[in-house]
Amino acid sequence: MADPRKFKIPIGPQHPALKEPESFSVALKGEKIKGLDIRLGYNHRGIEKACEGKTFIQDVYLLERICGICSHSHSTCFVQAVEEIAGLAVPRRALYIRTLVAELERVHSHYLWLGVAGHEIGFDTLLMYTWRDREAIMDVLALLTGNRVNYGINCLGGVRRDIDATQIKEVIKAIDELEERTKYYIEVATQEVTIIERLSGVGILSHEDALRLGAVGPTGRASGVNRDVRRDDAYAAYAELKFDVITDDHCDVYGRTLVRVKELLQSFSIIRQVLKNLPDGPIAVRAPRKIPAGEAFNRYEAPRGEDVHYVKANGTEFPERVKVRAPTLANIRSVKQMLKDRYLADMPIVIAAIDPCFSCTDRLISVKHDNKEKEVMEWQALRSYSIDWYSKRGVDFTELNKKLEEKFKHK
């Protein structure tokens, strides 16, 4: 070692700060971070390949197990893609129930995040309190779907379980209680001195960087990126519901915390609307076992950001290709930017602030070089292709596109 103050320490693959194996190699000078190497891939489970060997019905359960926390996100995203290929008209009641579970999941995920963030900055009391309150949501989910995690509520063409009046009452009771608690946590997050000291000004991701690095979900929204798939490309019942997309211009971990706790309040309001306007009717249509050939691409606003599934069917019971891009993959690149010249002590909270889910993220792509008929698509071509693809489906990006181009011309 030339300079004894300069050294590299490994954070991970096994480290108390990380709940899943992932390697961050940190170059330190004293307490300051001078460089960061991120290596993904310790949690690769080969789920995409496994999907090809199972039927569509079985895949719903397999994809649900990509993530233990946003399991409903992945299964809904997949189910929606398959329904698009098969051209199934999902009953409205099913869409509302899906939305209900999705928002309950968002509440439980954000509560979980709040606790983890508390733990990472050494505030275990916050962890204990938020997780205690989260139990209410877990119980409600078990009541509605039959399990606390991996709800198994989705099936091709609808949902598997109906809800009745007594359950609605239970949900509303839990929501009322939690809303009270959420207001308290907003108070805690904005008033506790030590929390603010540890969170504000930490992990800064400027608006331009957030756009450039493609940050999604609360990470992007805390940097003023006003994007939310629920509004921009409304799926399930979101088009009929009223809610605000929370953004914040703090651009730091504090901003991300605020976005998340305020999103909780929005979720409560969505849940109330869903329960109030729950339409009558069947909860599922019969789905064919053999899905006709075709491909679909579906976006879903998971608690952590935009989740993307691509499904290609070839007319059999088995999908030909399933591709998953979890939100963490989009956000992980921004971590390096956030940690530039920060203290080592900020590292756990900055990583935690994107709410990483590494096992969702780990995918493997092998590029074969011997393929003669390959088609190379440049970035611009790919973008115009995607804009066309969306405009065919009625989503207009021209406005947004113009804004983006202006922004980068500025730079």
Partner: protein, 123 residues
């Protein structure tokens, strides 16, 4: 925060002292499967749809079937319950299925005795 914290000293802890106290599972809970041999028609849809291949239906006689369920393979999604056209399968609220002996995780629902028998571990 301080007020909240000091208040909780007087409160009872929320911890539930499992295994001394147990919670009631909700009605829709997906626990251990129950098989009714008299209803089974042997269509094997459950076998086909099971994501993990945890259930096997064997024919043991004329219109008589037994189900072998590997509890360690089962992911408790209850897809088989949905797939069954005759409602021969049912999810119970039983959750405490942990075993030291792996053989006991293989449960056979036999049509002959109409009772659950647990096969001894075989090597």
């Amino acid at each position: 925060m301080l007020r909240q914290v000091l208040k909780s000293i007087l409160k009872k802890p929320v911890t539930i002292m499992y295994p001394y106290e147990k919670l009631e599972m909700p009605d829709k809970f997906r626990g251990k499967l129950k098989f009714s041999p008299e209803k089974c028609i042997g269509c094997k849809m459950c076998m086909k749809d099971c994501p993990t291949g945890a259930i096997t239906i064997n024919k043991i006689g004329e219109k008589k079937f037994e189900a072998v369920i590997d509890l360690d393979k089962c992911i408790y999604c209850a897809q088989c319950v949905d797939s069954c056209p005759k409602k021969a399968l049912e999810a119970t609220k039983e959750v405490e299925l942990a075993q030291l002996d792996k053989g006991k995780l293989r449960v056979i629902f036999d049509a002959e005795s109409q009772k659950t028998t647990e096969e001894e571990s075989k090597k």
